[in-house]
């Protein structure tokens, strides 16, 4: 009962935040609404006992990815007029995608009510059950190849991003950090003893 109440209020917040993402005029607000949406879904995952995934969602998406998103969105100057120009041109495509999604969602409800065997809720886990251990055990044994492949693709993306920014611009002034660190006092300052001067 209490869990149901939690679920429905969270669902309301999540829906509101998602609508906010697409209706805000200011891209910064869209990004902030997205943060709220991520956070709310993390809390919903807690309700289905997926505490590891919930915390990781907050850690990765809210704590790192969205910070970088905000970083970029705050820096660039987005001209909304320019963006709105293509609206009529792309409206049919958008409408088609929306239709497909709507049909898919409605099918889910129809399947539930059409008498097909639907999985019931799994029984709650006993106390002391560790979500993290369970996930780790599956991830590193059964799905180890998929896991390694995913990490390899991510590594590739990191290296590609670095390579893209590694262009040499002529005339750029950069510090040689190793030389800066290696500097000793004798290279820069000289202690001199002077006679006192009078005038």
């Amino acid at each position: 009962m209490l869990i149901q109440m939690f679920f429905w209020s969270l669902a309301a917040v999540l829906l509101g935040a998602s609508i906010g993402v697409i209706t805000s005029r200011n891209p910064v607000f869209s990004a902030l609404y997205l943060v709220l949406a991520f956070f709310t879904s993390a809390v919903m995952w807690l309700l289905i006992e997926a505490e590891f995934l919930a915390v990781v969602l907050v850690l990765v998406y809210v704590g790192a990815v969205m910070v970088l998103f905000l970083f970029v969105v705050m820096m660039i100057d987005i001209n909304t007029e320019e963006l709105r120009k293509g609206f009529t041109r792309f409206a049919p495509v958008g409408g088609f995608v929306a239709l497909v999604v709507a049909v898919e969602l409605i099918t889910v409800f129809l399947v539930r009510n059409s008498g097909l065997p639907v999985l019931s809720n799994p029984p709650p886990h006993p106390e002391g059950y560790s979500n993290t251990k369970e996930l780790g055990a599956v991830l590193y044994t059964e799905h180890v190849y998929a896991f390694e492949l995913a990490s390899f693709i991510l590594l590739l993306a990191i290296i590609a991003a670095i390579v893209l920014t590694m262009r040499k611009r002529p005339g750029l002034k950069v510090q040689n950090i190793a030389r800066q660190v290696a500097v000793r006092r004798q290279d820069r300052v000289r202690l001199v003893s002077m006679e006192a001067e009078k005038d």
Binding site: V55, L59, V62, A64, V67, L68, F71, T132
Partner: protein
């Protein structure tokens, strides 16, 4: 004393039993949270005082000594002054975000305390993924800074926010890797179990075995809290006061509170994860058996936290501010490789059965 408590309880008990269990649980948790909150806020107050005293002594000054004996009431004078001042919202600022930003920076700093094991077998919320929870919450603190910088609609504030965001995201990675080492050694994500793995007479604090990770974690913690020498987000000599340049009164006080609460939190986490938390360093010595010194408890955690807080102040009084590119270099090119190498060494040691994690 116990007689009074018993007679009081006799009066309360019928009403207590009448309450539903859910409300009883809520009341118990609130009764645990409230004293902790009060203690943290008092610690913040006296940390500011202690900081000014220590920096004063290090610079051959006296420090605050006007209000009360030895200046001990100075924090209250400061607080009253800040509360009585007007909160000014700049004309072109986004009012809602401007006012909510300080709250966004204080709440993660306080919420993370829920999983910190305060004394043997006790934390307010003894959750399984405690370490991840702490990491997630400390990474949320950056939103307060970014939103404050953006909502202020001022170039200085915005520059401060951008610097802080880049810095926190960079150091988060090194911090996370250092914690991977801790969870490998402790064999658990639960902070209570991590402390329990270090406790005991053989004194296997992770400090010894994970020394590079400890150093990386603590320095990253200093960088995450935007403290000197990593305080480019404030940089009062370059960008006035950074993200909180337009804040005044209570709103500024909350930012201040958040910064110091974060310092206390990082100090507590460093002691929990590397220095045995509530464990006593003298627990194996026969001559001290049965005394306060040998018993683990809250007092040892407090001593360790106080030591790390002193290190924060010591660093601030000693080092000049880092240049921005050097901060990035230290985070990405020094700390991350060090942590990765040490994780591999730790794995190798575990494989050949050396170290406390082998048992």
């Amino acid at each position: 004393m116990t007689g009074i408590i018993n007679s009081l309880w006799a009066i309360i008990e019928p009403y207590w039993n009448w309450l539903p269990t859910l409300i009883q649980d809520v009341i118990i948790v609130v009764l645990q949270i409230a004293p902790l909150l009060v203690v943290i806020i008092l610690c913040v107050a006296y940390l500011t005082f202690w900081e000014r005293k220590i920096i004063g002594w290090m610079q051959n000054r006296i420090g605050p000594n006007r209000v009360g004996p030895w200046g001990l009431f100075q924090p209250f004078a400061d607080t009253i002054k800040l509360i009585l001042k007007e909160v000014i919202v700049p004309r072109d600022a986004n009012r809602f975000l401007f006012l909510i930003a300080p709250l966004l920076s204080i709440s993660p700093a306080l919420a993370a305390w829920a999983v910190v094991p305060l004394f043997p077998d006790f934390a307010i919320a003894d959750v399984d993924a405690g370490l991840l929870y702490v990491l997630a919450l400390t990474s949320l603190g950056v939103y307060g800074v970014i939103i404050a910088g953006w909502a202020t609609n001022s170039k200085y504030a915005f520059l401060g926010a951008m610097r802080s965001a880049a810095q926190i995201v960079s150091y988060e990675i090194a911090m996370g890797f250092a914690l991977v080492g801790v969870l490998m050694a402790g064999g658990s994500l639960n902070l209570g179990e991590i402390v329990a793995a270090q406790a005991g007479p053989d004194n296997s604090w992770f400090l010894l075995w994970l020394f590079p990770l400890f150093i990386v974690y603590f320095i990253s913690g200093v960088a995450e809290t935007n403290r000197a020498p990593f305080d480019v987000a404030e940089g009062e000599s370059e960008i006035v006061a950074g993200f909180h340049v337009e804040y005044s009164g209570v709103a500024f006080a909350i930012f201040f509170l958040a910064e110091y609460a974060n310092m206390i939190l990082i100090a507590a986490l460093t002691s929990v994860m590397f220095c045995g938390g509530w464990d006593s360093p003298f627990s194996g010595i026969a001559a001290l058996e049965g005394s306060m010194l040998a018993a683990g408890g809250l007092h040892w955690l407090c001593i360790k936290v106080a030591f790390f807080l002193f290190c924060f102040l010591w660093l601030r009084a000693t080092f000049p501010r880092y240049r921005y590119d050097q901060i990035m270099r230290l985070g990405w090119k020094v700390f991350i490789p060090v942590t990765i190498v040490w994780i591999f060494i730790e794995g190798g040691l575990a494989l050949i059965g050396v170290g406390p994690w082998s048992t």
